[in-house]
């Protein structure tokens, strides 16, 4: 029998803890495939955040550290400064990265730490049951914005890639989406580019993945995908916001 598809060896046999239809699973797969393709499993250390993906330490077949809420980039800094050959990545949600961990994120980026951040923007706090995130859309209803996010009192969503792209320490920042097959392929290419940067010691790379949370959005996975496409992508345009080494490889910019 011919094998046409295999689970990547970068993921363990643990059953994922994510809800049916959630995009965390597919993003894990893209990271796993990348680590295998670059042959860096043995020297990778991943950092699990506090959020739905907290149990990622059970899912990736690499050494893993579970960081306090938002502190992933600081923990990654400590690891990267201790393991000169290490490949260090964090996997963080929008509450983790863009609310409680904003300082750690911005300064790891400003220092140009040689790490990869995979940033999952699902416009909500998933794990705690669907509260407003810094990335929640204007008007979006959540448990703590029951009348819809009112920008007069709750302010505006944070556009992380745009913000970080202004920092000289950032080598690479790209926003992708996990909504369609072509976009997922693009997401894979972005994740691979980020890890290639790290292997080449080019500094800080971030890939923001627009993702869905059917459970807390209160929609079917299919409706969630449409909502992401119709509401999130216009506010969070996809593309490369920064690629310092683009000329070497032919990568583009927005």
């Amino acid at each position: 029998m011919k094998v046409v598809y295999e689970k990547t060896s970068a993921l363990t046999d643990q059953t994922l803890s994510y809800c049916p239809g959630c995009t965390h699973g597919v993003i894990h797969k893209l990271i796993g495939e990348t680590l295998v393709e670059l042959d860096v499993l043995g020297r990778t250390v991943g950092i699990a955040p506090v959020g739905c993906s907290v149990l990622a330490y059970n899912f990736f077949n690499v050494d893993m550290v579970q960081a306090p809420h938002g502190r992933g980039p600081a923990v990654a800094t400590g690891l990267a400064r201790s393991l000169p050959d290490g490949v260090i990545f964090t996997y963080q949600g929008d509450g983790d990265l863009a609310a409680i961990g904003t300082a750690e994120t911005v300064h790891a980026a400003a220092r140009g730490e040689n790490i990869v951040i995979i940033f999952i923007n699902n416009a909500i706090y998933g794990m705690t049951g669907g509260q407003m995130a810094p990335t929640t859309m204007p008007g979006q209803m959540t448990q703590t914005s029951p009348y819809g996010r009112d920008t007069a009192t709750a302010g505006y969503p944070v556009r992380v890639c745009e913000m970080l792209a202004t920092l000289d320490g950032v080598a690479y920042a790209e926003r992708v989406a996990a909504n369609t097959v072509p976009n997922i392929r693009r997401a894979k290419a972005a994740i691979k580019r980020a890890f290639e940067n790290q292997v080449a010691r080019r500094g800080f790379s971030i890939v923001e993945v627009l993702a869905i949370c059917p459970t807390n959005w209160g929609m079917t996975p299919i409706d969630s995908i449409s909502w992401l496409t119709e509401h999130m992508i216009p506010y969070y345009p996809l593309g490369v916001y920064k690629d310092k080494h683009a000329e070497n490889t032919g990568g583009g910019g927005v």
């Binding site: 050494d63 550290v65 600081a74 923990v75």
Partner: protein, 354 residues
């Protein structure tokens, strides 16, 4: 090679750390400990180490968490307000069984408080370093020499028991200069098979983690850790006895206040008052048996602290009502003079036990 030099306490501590094999320092400036960071920023580049000025104390302690996860000797230092911020990280370090050293050169609180010396973080260090059931080793130097020596001991014991360790100093020790014999540089080779440093495709993946969602599993982890704590409490207490053999008035003081107490009791001896000092060097584990041994022939106990009275509760718990325990302290950064303490000793001598 050993060398004798004149150094500030903070610098002696920093050099002691380097000679103990620490090559990873992460910190954020705050008076009165900034000399540690400044010293590390000068020295680390010459010894192939890392000095990193973090964006906050929270970030610094989490960088330590990352470095400790990778298996290297890592440290951070701060002073009281910064230690409040490190509490989260300390709790995670303890919950993840990560060895490292945190230095607190205490200043007066609460709030922004002041920059003068204090010992008002005793509870924070020994009772509630962070949320949850946990302990960390707490060492209290009282000379510049001990600043250099105890940091190396702290790294060794942290590695041995896989627990975070704290050096609890104060602004006076940090700032003052004394001659110090610097220990020879030692090569450290602690095996850390649990470290998250890349499995090299040779072993199952290591996980550094403090999350256990099943209550029974978490309870068992904590119970296991408390078994280790019990061994520490049994084996690792340290205290200095100074003229305790025939002491009728036993002073208990650590760090800077122990220095003041020593001068006071030396003066008391000249007046014919049999006073002695038991100086805890470990604050956790607390030297309960050492205190009880020294209190055996004493009539009264006097605890002296730069606080409103924190360690005194542990002294009372140690002697279990067998001896009256008096307290004398100044706070807010005020330092008692030896004469102030002598007056307390005289009062106790005059009044007897009441």
């Amino acid at each position: 090679m050993e060398e004798k030099v004149l150094m500030k306490g903070n610098e002696a501590l920093a050099e002691g750390a380097i000679r103990a094999g620490c090559r990873h320092y992460f910190g954020y400036p705050i008076t009165p400990q900034t000399e540690i960071a400044a010293y590390m920023s000068r020295r680390m580049p010459h010894v192939g180490g890392i000095f990193l000025q973090a964006e906050s104390e929270i970030a610094a302690v989490n960088m330590v968490l990352g470095a400790a996860s990778a298996g290297v000797r890592a440290m951070t230092s701060s002073s009281s307000p910064g230690i409040s911020l490190k509490s989260e990280g300390i709790s995670y370090l303890a919950g993840s069984d990560l060895p490292c050293v945190i230095v607190n050169i205490q200043r007066a609180g609460p709030g922004l408080g002041g920059i003068q010396p204090s010992q008002a973080d005793y509870y924070l260090a020994t009772k509630s370093p962070g949320h949850g059931d946990l302990h960390m080793l707490v060492f209290a130097p009282s000379t510049v020499q001990e600043m250099a020596d105890l940091i190396s001991h702290a790294f060794n014991k942290a590695d041995e028991y896989r627990v975070p360790a704290m050096i609890l100093g104060d602004g006076m020790l940090g700032q003052m200069m004394e001659p110090v014999i610097l220990p020879a540089e030692r090569e450290v080779k602690t095996s850390k098979p649990w470290a998250a440093n890349g499995h090299q495709n040779k072993r199952p993946h290591n996980i550094i983690n403090s999350l256990f969602l099943e209550a029974d599993i978490l309870e068992n982890r904590i119970l296991d850790r408390y078994k280790r704590y019990a061994v520490i409490e049994h084996n690792e207490t340290r205290a200095e006895n100074f003229m305790t053999d025939d002491a009728k008035i036993l002073i208990i003081a650590y760090g800077a206040s122990a220095r003041i107490a020593k001068s006071a009791l030396t003066a008391a001896r000249k007046e014919g008052i049999a006073a002695g000092l038991l100086r805890p060097i470990t604050l956790w584990p607390f030297p309960v048996k050492e205190i009880n041994a020294a209190a055996e022939n004493a009539r009264d106990i006097l605890t002296v602290e730069l606080s409103m009275g924190q360690m005194v509760t542990d002294v009372k718990l140690a002697v279990q009502g067998r001896r009256p325990v008096h307290f004398f302290g100044r706070t807010g950064g005020m330092m008692p003079t030896p004469e102030d303490v002598l007056e307390e000793i005289r009062k106790i001598e005059r009044n007897g036990s009441i």
